[in-house]
Each structure stands twice: as structure tokens, then as C-alpha cells.
């Protein structure tokens, strides 16, 4: 009964999404206030019903209702409750339902927190979100119904993939989806602006906090995914440039470009057309990602589904949404007026440079990800593009981005004197070069150009940030002044930037140092034997069988000491889950800020001997620390007071323009 209720609720959601898409949009164009006012209630209704559907699926899992095919495939009576919950979104159909739920959630949020916006703008934004919703709901109902029944009813479920039975991985998809879906808000605002023909600073100001929050979620999702891969997959890798990972990284890069571009559009009224295009691009990349991981077009170690039929459906959806939005852009963008002028050396140019680099990086990641497909389709043979290529390209481009990142905050809007800038950057430049040279030399640890480069770039970021803070707080010294500045209008926005940029510096150090200086050893050990690595002594104390909730494991014990003092006791495991019998490795990790000690079990070699892999990984946690800092910075920026100041004047202005023809709003100068 409950699954049928869920199914019915989904259908009702689709109906409401249809109402939401059609009436408010048309009403806003025809000036029919009754239709415009349908937007908010429809958004509420959509959310309520999809939440009901989600609750029904959740209940089916919690009650082990194996008459539901999806539950039979991924549930299990022995599954711990928390994983029964996360199993809801653990595979294709359920994860789509989560997408739909989160999309409705964001739609509702926009409906609620948009009291200051003109009704017609809200109507258009919600309508566009409704159109996206229709796509996902139709996809669910017509091709991927999570409520499909199965007969005969199996006695036990197929169990959730053991890899997914992990808290980190349980949260990772919701975070990512919050990000992907959140970018649809910026997308919808952009469409609404194009439709209405009014692209001004107000539009940028409305979009910005929404975009920032979505971007923060995406940052958290990606960081979590990387962290999870590291400790779960058992061999210490944290990023593989796998198509699914790239599918999440590309929207993030576009989102980063977007938040920087919105800053310019808001403050200077420049880059408006470009910003709109970026907003369309960011969400398009989210949708593209959805296509790539569910259509079977690319091979990936973690694609959801590989079903060309479903793939076709998504592709058509993509063409409608992306093609439609880009067509709208081609039609309306030329009539948008250009904003403030700026000189070659100005913050605008530097931000434009930032955007440019980010977009080029996004483009080549797309190129590399799709290259196998393109080459095959053109009959140029089968090639594969893997980690080494992506890494080489990414490392080639990022330094330029980091250099710009340092200069940008110090540069004035519109015009900055080159001599002035050189003087302001002098100290930062010298310190960075010096630091880089020291780090590259044997004085540091071991001679390494890579380390030198990383230190130089990170120092550059830190010193330019300090210079920027000093410039901002001039005439006012001390922590109290900084505190007041923080709380002022624009304060959190600025310090958010500082924290986020700092996160990038931390990330660079983490990645470079762990790549260059990590040490590993593959070794066969007998109980009682010791090995030396990275200054630590590892004593293998044997492997014992161990029983978990729904798995059996071989549990090893390794005692780690340094200079005779015990550092930690590690317990790497090799687990065999009761249902899906593929063995899983759980690494034993001792994590500190400056280094990780990482041990994984290999194979049993007889007579109590085991093959082990030992790792010493310096600075590896800085990778995720960097990610966290970036997310915190984004949150700080989004919480800035100025976004909450009611701007009544704008409401009155745009209310007047409801009556007038949209295109006549601004004249060319």
C-alpha cells in the first residue's frame, strides 16, 4: 500500500510541477496576477508531495519491504538502520528521487525567502525550477520508478553495496545534490532575467547568496567524496580524475567562476552577459554530469547505471533545458547593455582573467573526459585518457590562477596604477620567491622543484592576503579594528574571501607535499616481525577473525612506535560482507594534522604471514582541511549582512516596470 501511495504522490508532484512551470511564467508575461500568484502555493505543494513519496520509499526500506524491487535489490534485514536510510539514495532510482526532493526543497526555499523580489521575477524563477523538476519527475515515473513491485517477493534483499555502507559516503550524495540543484537557482534567476529583459546589479545581488550556498555544498560534497575514497578504498588515493568525479568538479569550477563574476556584475554592472552565460553553464554542467554517470556513455569505476535507453531520455531533457536556455541567451543577450568601463589593469580584468582560466580548465576537463567517446565516434580509434594527462594539464594551469588570486584583491576597480601595484606586491613577491627557493633546496627535506613551487605559490597567497588586509584596515590597527571590520557591511564577504583563498593555499601544500614526499612499502610480514618506514617502526602482531554486524573480517593488529614510544595501534581489516561477498579492505589509519600513517592488509600468505602495505603520508589532511576552509569561507561570505538589507527602492522601481515593455528599460549609451 505504501509504495503505491508513494507512486501516487510522485504523480501528483509531477502535476504540480506542471502547474508551477506553465501558469506563473505565462502569467508574468501576460500580466495575469492570478496566475502569477499560483507560483508559491505550487512550490509548496510540489515539496509536500515529493516529501511524501520519499518518506514512503524510506519506510519501505526501514520495514524491509522486499516486495518493492528497489528495496529487494539494495536492502537487507541485517543492514544497520542508518544504512537502510542511506540505501534509499544508494542506487539509480532512489538517488533520482533524492534529486527531485532536494530540487523541490530549493524551489520552496526560493519561494519563501523571496519576499523582497518583485512577484513577476519570483514567478519566472520558480517556473524555470518547475521545468527542471518536470524533467526529473518524468524521468522517475516513466523510466526509473523506485516503487516498482516485484513478484515473487524475495525473502532477503540484495544488500547495499558494502562500499556504500559508510557514514561519509551516506552524506556525500546529499551534499553534492544540494550543490548541483542549488546551481539551478542561479540558472533560473538568469533565465528569468533574460525573459524579463532586465539584467542589472539587483539581479546579481539576488543571485549571489544562493549561488554561494550551492557552491559551498558542492565544495563539501567533493571534499567528502575525496576523503571517503582515501580512507575507504584502502590504498590511499584521494582523486582519480574518474568521469564521475570530473562530473562533480566541472560544475564546481564553473560555480567558482560564477561567484567571482557575480561580484563584478553586482558592484560594477560589468560582465552581465558573461555572468548570465556562466550561470547557465554551471547548471548545465550539473545536468551533463547526471547524464554522463547514468547513460553508459563512459566507463567509470562508479557510474550509477549504464542504460542507453535512460540515457536517451536524459539527453533529450538536456537538449530542451540547455539548448533552450542557450537559445534564449542568443536571442536576448545582445540587448543587454554593457556596464561600467574598466582599464587593462584593474580588478575587473583580473577577475575576468580568473574566469577565463577557470573556464578553460573546465573545458579541458570536459575534453579529457569525453575524448574517448569523441575519438571513438569519429572513428579515430580507441584512446584512453587517465590520471597522468589530467594531472599534467591541471598542474600546468593552476599556478597562473593562483598568481591572479594573489593580485586580484589588491587591485582597484576600474583602474590601478601599475607602479603602485608593483610596489604593493614587492614584499609578497620577494618572500614567496625566497620561500620557494628554500623549499626547493636540500635544506628543506629533499631537493624538489615541486615543493619549491608549491611553497612559493602558497606563500604568495598568504602574503598577498596579509597585504590586502593591511591595506583594508589602514589607519586602524589591532584586532579590535579587525573585529569591527568583520561585522561591518561587506566585512564577512571580505573575510570569507580571505578564508577561502587561504584554503586554496593549504590545499596546494597538502597535495604537493603528499605527492612528492609520501613513502610506501609493500611487504610480507610474519607475526612479530617489524618494518621501518618514515621514521616509524611497524610491528605486525598477527591477524584475528572478527565478526561485525553484517560482515566477517580478518582483523590485523599493527603496533606503531617511534623511538621506542608507542604511537598507535592500527587495525586494518579485510571484510567479507555476508550478502555481496566481494572482499573489502578497511585501512588502519592514524591521522594527525601533519601526517597520516596508513596500513592496509593484502593477502594471507599462509602460516600467519600476510602481505601488507605501509604508508607514511605527510600533510595529506591539508587537502581536506583546504576544502573545509574553502567551504567555511563561502559560508562566511554568504552570511554577509548586506544581503539581508531590505532594498525597498528596487521593489518600487521594478514594480513600475511591470507595466512597461521589458526591452525598453535601458537605452544604449
Amino acid at each position: 500500500m505504501i509504495p503505491e501511495l508513494g507512486h501516487f504522490a510522485l504523480i501528483l508532484t509531477l502535476c504540480l510541477a506542471l502547474v508551477l512551470s506553465i501558469f506563473p511564467m505565462i502569467g508574468s508575461l501576460n500580466n495575469t496576477p492570478a496566475w502569477v500568484s499560483l507560483a508559491r502555493p505550487a512550490a509548496w505543494g510540489q515539496f509536500v508531495f515529493v516529501a511524501i513519496a520519499f518518506a514512503c520509499l524510506l519506510s519501505s526500506f526501514l520495514n524491509d519491504d522486499f516486495s518493492v524491487l528497489y528495496v529487494a535489490q539494495h536492502g537487507n534485514t541485517q543492514l544497520p538502520t542508518i544504512y537502510k536510510v542511506s540505501a534509499v539514495w544508494g542506487a539509480h532510482e532512489g538517488s533520482l528521487l533524492l534529486w527531485a526532493l532536494i530540487l523541490s526543497g530549493w524551489t520552496l526555499a526560493v519561494a519563501i525567502f523571496s519576499r523582497d523580489l518583485p512577484e513577476e521575477v519570483v514567478a519566472r524563477v520558480l517556473s524555470v525550477m518547475g521545468i527542471v523538476s518536470i524533467g526529473f519527475l518524468s524521468f522517475l515515473i516513466f523510466t526509473s520508478n523506485p516503487f516498482e513491485r516485484t513478484f515473487p517477493v524475495p525473502l532477503e534483499g540484495g544488500d547495499l553495496n558494502p562500499l556504500l555502507q559508510d557514514l561519509g559516503l551516506a552524506i556525500h550524495p546529499p551534499m553534492l545534490y544540494m550543490g548541483y540543484v542549488g546551481l539551478s537557482v542561479a540558472f533560473s534567476f538568469a533565465i528569468a532575467a533574460l525573459v524579463g529583459g532586465k539584467l542589472d546589479a539587483a539581479w546579481a545581488r539576488w543571485s549571489r547568496p544562493w549561488t554561494l550556498v550551492a557552491w559551498v555544498f558542492l565544495t563539501i560534497g567533493i571534499t567528502l567524496g575525496s576523503w571517503w575514497a582515501y580512507y575507504e578504498l584502502g590504498w590511499g588515493g584521494w582523486w582519480f580524475w574518474d568521469p564521475v568525479e570530473n562530473a562533480s568538479f566541472m560544475p564546481w569550477l564553473a560555480g567558482t567562476a560564477l561567484i567571482h563574476s557575480l561580484a563584478v556584475a553586482e558592484k560594477r554592472g560589468a560582465f552581465k552577459r558573461w555572468t548570465v552565460l556562466l550561470a547557465l553553464l554551471a547548471f548545465s554542467l550539473s545536468l551533463l554530469g547526471t547524464f554522463l554517470v547514468r547513460s553508459g556513455v563512459l566507463t567509470s569505476v562508479h557510474s550509477f547505471a549504464s542504460d542507453p535507453e535512460r540515457g536517451l531520455f536524459i539527453l533529450i531533457f538536456l537538449c530542451v533545458v540547455i539548448g533552450g536556455s542557450l537559445a534564449l541567451y542568443a536571442w536576448r543577450a545582445p540587448d543587454v547593455t554593457s556596464g561600467g568601463r574598466f582599464d587593462l589593469l584593474s580588478r575587473e580584468t583580473l577577475l575576468l582573467g580568473n574566469n577565463l582560466l577557470l573556464v578553460v580548465i573546465t573545458a579541458f576537463i570536459l575534453l579529457g573526459t569525453l575524448a574517448p567517446l569523441v575519438y571513438d565516434a569519429l572513428g579515430w580509434g580507441k584512446i584512453s585518457v587517465g590520471f597522468p594527462w589530467f594531472n599534467a594539464m591541471f598542474v600546468s594551469f593552476t599556478p597562473f590562477l593562483v598568481v591572479l588570486m594573489g593580485i586580484g584583491p589588491l587591485t582597484r576597480w576600474k583602474h590601478h596604477d601599475a607602479g603602485d601595484l608593483a610596489r604593493q606586491l614587492r614584499i609578497a613577491f620577494l618572500v614567496s620567491i625566497a620561500g620557494g627557493l628554500i623549499a626547493a633546496s636540500p635544506l628543506f627535506h629533499q631537493a624538489s622543484i615541486g615543493a619549491g613551487l608549491a611553497v612559493m605559490l602558497s606563500l604568495w597567497v598568504v602574503t598577498t592576503l596579509l597585504a590586502s588586509i593591511r591595506l583594508r584596515l589602514k589607519h586602524r590597527d589591532g584586532l579590535a579594528a579587525m573585529g569591527r571590520d568583520f561585522l561591518s557591511r561587506g566585512g564577512r564577504s571580505y573575510y570569507g574571501m580571505v578564508v577561502a583563498h587561504l584554503g586554496i593555499a593549504v590545499f596546494i601544500i597538502g597535495v604537493t607535499f603528499v605527492s612528492l614526499f609520501e613513502v610506501e612499502e609493500d611487504i610480507r610480514m610474519s607475526p612479530g616481525q617489524t618494518a621501518e618506514l618514515g621514521g616509524y617502526t611497524f610491528r605486525f602482531e598477527g591477524v584475528q577473525p572478527h565478526q561485525g554486524a553484517n560482515y566477517r573480517a580478518d582483523r590485523g593488529t599493527i603496533r606503531v612506535t617511534k623511538d621506542g614510544e608507542e604511537v598507535t595501534l592500527l587495525h586494518p581489516e579485510k571484510r567479507t560482507y555476508l550478502v555481496q561477498t566481494k572482499p573489502m579492505t578497511e585501512a588502519g589509519i592514524d591521522g594527525r594534522l601533519m601526517r597520516d600513517i596508513y596500513v592496509s592488509l593484502g593477502e594471507s600468505l599462509g602460516r600467519g604471514d600476510w602481505s601488507l602495505r605501509l604508508y607514511y603520508k605527510p600533510f595529506v589532511r591539508w587537502i581536506w582541511l583546504g576544502g573545509i576552509l574553502i567551504a567555511v569561507g563561502g559560508l562566511l561570505a554568504a552570511s554577509d549582512r548586506r544581503y539581508r538589507i531590505k532594498v525597498r527602492r528596487t521593489v518600487v522601481d521594478t514594480a513600475k516596470s511591470i507595466r512597461s515593455k521589458p526591452l525598453a528599460a535601458e537605452s544604449r549609451s
Binding site: L233, G234, W235, F240, D242, K267, V301, R341, F342, L344, T349, L352, G353, L356, V359, V360, F364, L367, G381, K382, I383, S384, V385, G386, F387, P388, W389, N391, A392, M393, V395, S396, F397, P399, L410, W413, H415, H416, D417, G419, I449, G450, L453, L471, R476, S493, Y494, M497, T512, S515, L516, E518, E520, D522, G602, E603, S611, L612, R613, A637
Partner: protein
Amino acid sequence: MKNFLLVFFVLVGLGAVPSHAGVTLEAFTFETPDEEERFKHLIEELRCLVCQNQSLIDSDAELAHDLRAEVYTMMQTGRPDDEIIQFLVARYGDFVLYNPPIKPSTYLLWFGPFVLLFIAALLLLRAVLRQKKTTAPQISTEERKRLDQMLGSNPAEGNEK
């Protein structure tokens, strides 16, 4: 200079490949650490055809086991690296190379990003320089300094985020 920098960065990037091996290699014993490095390097560059997006050093597939054993045996019988790679390419095609080879059909892949960057930089310069001259009067550096002083305790216009 730009060329040098580009090549430099590419080399740095290739050098910074983290060793991320998914399987323990204890089955293979090596005379010297250099030999072990050579082996690892070789299998990092070869693709596992069964799991496709993993190199031989990562994959747990049976074929990967076999191919690793093959590479090891060839190394022990004294074959040089390129002979080993040619052996596998002759049987499995270019696809077995994890890194696409640099040949005319893959120029797009290896040089494309830099070409893109170059074009984008040109477009940016053009867009910025083509703007109509501003009609607002320019103030001199001195006047700007006085202006900043007068504005005093407020955050300067140039430093707002």
C-alpha cells in the same frame, strides 16, 4: 619563455603523480629498489582492459594479475621497457597505454588545452581593450592619494570584495 614554462609545468605535473596502488605487489621480488621503481612505473602506464579506468597498478582484475606477471617476467628476462610496452600494444592496441601517446591524432588532446588558453586570452584582451574610452575624468596618482586620505577610516573603494 612561455614555452619553457609550459613544458616545465607539464613535467612537474607528470612528476607529481601520487603513487596510488590498489593491490599489494608482494608476489614480486626485486633485486634493487630501482628495479621495483621501474616495474611500478611500467604498470602505472598500462591500462587494465577489464576495469578500463584503472591502470595495472590499481586493478584487482584477473587479467591485471596476469599482465603484471607478464611484465615482471619480461623484466626478469632482461627486456627493455619499450619492448615490454610494444609487446602489449601489439596484442591490445594503443588502448592499453594509460596515457594517450603523442601522435598526430592525439595532438588535439595534448595541445588543445593550451590552444584554448591562448585563444581565450586573446579574446579577453580584445574585449578589454575594445571598450569605449571612459568619459569620466582620470585623476592623477597624487589626487588619488589625497582622495584616499580624505576618505580616511572607511574601507577604500579598491578593497571592497
